[in-house]
C-alpha cells in the first residue's frame, strides 16, 4: 500500500508531540514518526530537517550536541517552553478540526 503524504501544516505539530516526551535527533524523530503512524506516513528528510531548523530558529526547539547510545555525536532537539505552548494550542485546534470533519463526514 502507498504511504501517505503528511498533510500540509501538520508536520510541526507531530514533531512537537514526539519531542514532548524526550529530546531526540533527526533520524530518531523520523523513525518514531513512522512507527507512531503505523508506517502510514512517508517521512521525507527533505521536509523534516527544514521544519526542525525553522522551529529551532523560532525558539520552539533547542538543540544540543551529545553522544547517542552508540557513542555517535548527534544533534538532539528538545522542546522549549514556547514550543510547549505552541504544541498545546495547535493540538487543541487539530482535535477540534478533526472532530468537526468527522462529524460532517458521519452526518452526511
Amino acid at each position: 500500500m502507498d504511504k501517505l503524504d503528511i498533510p500540509q501544516g501538520t508536520l510541526d505539530l507531530m514533531i512537537l508531540t514526539i519531542l514532548v516526551r524526550e529530546p531526540m535527533h533527526g533520524y530518531g524523530i523520523a523513525q518514531k514518526l513512522a512507527a507512531l503512524s503505523q508506517d502510514q506516513f512517508q517521512v521525507n528528510p527533505g521536509s523534516l530537517f527544514p521544519s526542525l531548523y525553522r522551529l529551532e530558529q523560532d525558539g520552539k526547539l533547542k538543540a544540543e550536541w551529545r553522544p547517542t547510545e552508540n557513542n555517535r555525536n548527534a544533534k538532539y532537539y528538545k522542546l522549549t517552553a514556547a514550543g510547549r505552548k505552541q504544541l498545546e494550542r495547535h493540538k487543541q485546534r487539530w482535535i477540534r478540526i478533526s472532530f468537526a470533519i468527522t462529524s460532517v463526514l458521519e452526518g452526511a
Partner: protein, 886 residues
Amino acid sequence: MTLFHRFVSMFRWVLRREKAEQQLDEEMRTFVDICAADKMREGVSLAEARRRAVLELGGIEQVKEQVRTSRHGALVDEIGRDVRYAFRTFARNPGFVLVVVLTLGLGIGANTAIFSLIDALMLRWLPVRDPQELVQVKLQEPGDGPATDTFSYPIVRALGEQQEIFTGVAGFSGYSFNIGAGDSIGKVSGALVTGGYYETLGLNPEAGRLLTRSDDAPDAPLAAVISDGYWERQFLRSPAAIGQILVVNGAPATIVGVSPPGFTGANVGMTADITLTAGAFASVNRQVAELIGPGNFWIRALARPAPGVSVRQAEARLTTVWSGIWDSLIAAHWPQSQRSPFANARFQLAPGGTGWTTMRDRYRQPLTVLMSVVAVVLLIACANVASLMLARASARQREIAVRLALGASRGRVVRQLLIESTLLSSIGAAFGILLAWASSRLLLETMFPGSWRVTFDLTPNGHILGFTAAVSAATGVLFGLAPALRTTAAGPAAALNDDMRTSSSRSRLLPSLIVAQVAMSLVLLVGAGLFAGTLRNLQRLDPGFNREGVLIADLEGRRTPVPQELVDEIQALPGVVSASVSTHTPLSGSIWSDRAVPRGQPVPERDSAFFVGAGPRLLEIMQTPLISGRDFTDRDSAEAQPVAVVNEAYARRFFPDRQPLGQYLSAVVRGARRDLEIVGVAKNTSAAGLRRRSPLTVYVAYRQLTGSFPTTLVIRARGNLAEMAAAIRRAIQPQMPDTAIEVLPLSAQIEAAMVQERVMAGLAGAFGALALVLASVGLYGLLAYTVARRTKEVGIRVALGAERARVVAMILGGAVRLVSIGVLLGLPAAWAASRAVQSMLFGLKPADPATIGGAIVLLGAAALVAAYVPAWRASRIDPLTALRHE
C-alpha cells in the same frame, strides 16, 4: 517569538554561516551513519547500507539546500553568496566586465545627467518651510487664453492683505543690479521682492535679519539681504558684513542680513545674491519707480493659504474679493478694452513649492526629447549587453548545467544570473553617476551658454540616486532576464550533453537584438539629422542684417537719450567704422510695440507694429538694405520733422498700391501722438525671432523720441572684436558711473537665440553617434561570434571549393539582412518620433528624405565596417585547421 528575536536569530545564521554550515553537514552525516547502522542490523553490507541511507535521506547536498532555502534569513544569506560568486566570475572575465560596465555606464550616465537637469529645473522643492503648501497665484481672463502669472506691484500688495485667505504672499522678480562704483562696478544677479517674501517662505536668517513688510514702504531706508554664497565670496562669512553699505545702482543700501544656505531665491536657476524690496528701491531708482506703477505686470507671486483654507476655497474667495478691488488696482489710463477683461478674471492657484522659472517652459520640450533620446540609448546599451551575455552564456552552459544537476532549482540559478546582471548594472550605474557628475558643468554650459546668472546644483541627491538606482535595477533585469532564462531552459541533462552548443545556436534572440539596435539607432540618427538640419537652416537664414563685426553695449539703467558727445567719442576711437544707438537690438528678447497707421485712418486701440528707435546710420551699421529712400541721419534731430523708416512687410500691408515714401503715418510713440513722414523702406529682418515671419516694423528716429526708453550702443568695428570691446568699455565706463557696461558682439546675442537648436543638434548628435557605435559593436560581436561557431562549416565549404569572395559575401549578406530588417522596422518609428518633435524643427519636414537617406547610408556604412573584419577572417579560414576544430 518577537520580531526582534527573529531578526537576531536570522542574523546569527547569516553571520555564523561557516559554523552553521559545518553543523548542518555534520547532522546529515549523523543521519546517514545512524540510518546505515540500522540497515546493517538487517544484514546488508556497510557500503549497501550507506547507499540506502543516503537514498532514504534524499541526497545530502539536496537536503542541505532545502534547509538553507527554508530557514529565515535564507534569502539574505543566499544573495550574499550569489554576490560573492558573481564577483569571482567577474574576476575571471575582466575584459567582458569592462565592456559591459563601459556600455552601461555611458547609457546610465546619459540618463542620470539629463534627469539631474530635469530634477534641478522642474522637480526639486524650494528649501523653505513646508514647500508643498505653497501655491503660485495665476489670473485667468475670460476666454481660453493662457492664465497670466505676472502681476503689478499694487496687485501683489493687495493680495498680501487678504489675511483670511493667505497667511502670506511673496512677490518676486529677478533683477540685475550694478553693485559698487567707479572701476569696481560689476553686475550682480539679484531679486526685487515684496515685504512678505521671506515671512511667507518661512525662512530664518543665517546672520542678521531678513526683509519684512516694513522694509517695503516707500520711505523705508534701503535694506539688502545677501545670499549665503555672496556672503562667503565677498565677505568670507565675516559678521562685520552686517551693517555695511553696498552701492546699488548708485544708491547706498545697508546689508541687514544673510539668507540661509541653499536658498538662492524663488526664481529657480537664477541665483539672487542681493535681494531688495521693490517699494524701497523705487524711491531711489527711476526705472523701478516706473515699474511699480499699476500698468506693469512683472512680479510673480507665491502664497501660503491660511490654515484650514483649501486651495479651491482660496481660489473662490479670492475671485470674490477681486470683483470688489480690481477697479482700483488696474491702471486707470488703460483703454476700456484692456481693462474690462480683468473685471471677470478668475484666480487660479497652482502648486508653487518648486518655485518658478521661465526656463521651465522653455526647456520642457527639449528636456523631454532628450530624456527620450537617452532612454533609447540605454535600451540600445541593454540590447548590446544582452547579446554579449547570450554569447557568453553558451560558454557558461556547462557550469550552469552542473549547478542544476547538483540540486539548485532553475529559479535559483536564474536568480544567481540576475544578481550577476544587476551587479554589472550597479557598477555601470556607479560609473554613470560619476560620469554624469563630472560632465554636469559641461552640460550646463551647453544648455545655458554665456548666461552667468544660471546656476544649478547638479550634485547627486536623493532623487537622482533613487532614479539611477531604479534605472540600473530595471536595466539589470532587462538585459539579464532573457539570457538567464535561455541558459537554464534546457535543464541539466540536455545541458551536459556536448551537442547542446549547436542546438542553442539556432536561437533567433541574438539576431533580433541586433535588429532592435539597428532600428533604435536609426530613430536617433534621423532625429540628430533633423536637429542638425534645423540649426543649419537657422544659421544660413538671411536675417536681414549682418551680425558679424558689430558690437553692442546695453546702457540698461539709462531711460533718457545718451549725449551725442558719447557717441561721437566712440566714433573717434581707432578701429570703429561707425557708431550709433538703438532702443532695441535684434533677438535681444525685448521688443517694443506701439500704434501706427497711414494718416487718415483711425489710430487703433491695440498696438499695430513693432517699433525700433534708431540713431543716425543704424541701418547702414546693421547692413539692413534699403529698398528705397534713405537711412536716418544726423539731421533727424528733435527739432526736425519727425520721420520713420518702415519695413517691406509694413509697406506691403498699409501701402499695397502706392509708393510709401513721402506719405505720413499717424502714430502713438511712447505715449505721444505723432505724425511721421516715411523717408525709407527697409528690407525685412528677423530681429524679433529667427523662426517668425518678419513683423510689421516702424523705425523711428532715436533723437526724436520723448519719454522713457532703453538705449543700446551699436558699433561696427574692424579688427579684433574682443580688443575693440575692451577699448570701448574703457572709454565709456567712466561716464556711466552707476551702470556696469558690458560690450558684447552682436553675434553672441544671435547665437544665444539659437541655444535650444544648438543644444538639440549637439546632444542629439552625440547620442546618435553613441548609438551608432554601440550598434556597430553589437553587430561586430554577433558576426565574430557566428564566424567562430561556423568555423567548421566554413572550412568544409572552402574545402569543397567555395571561393573566398563567396565566403565574404555570405557573412556580409547576413549582416546586410539584419541591418535591412532593422532599417525597415526603424523607419516607421523614426517617422513617428520626428512627428513628435515637428514643432522644434525649422525649414525641413519630419519625413525629410535627405535626412532619412543620410541616416540609412551612415548606418549601412558603419554596419559594413563592423561586418568586414569578421567576414575577412572567415575567408581566411584554413580548411585543415577548421576540420580539426573541436
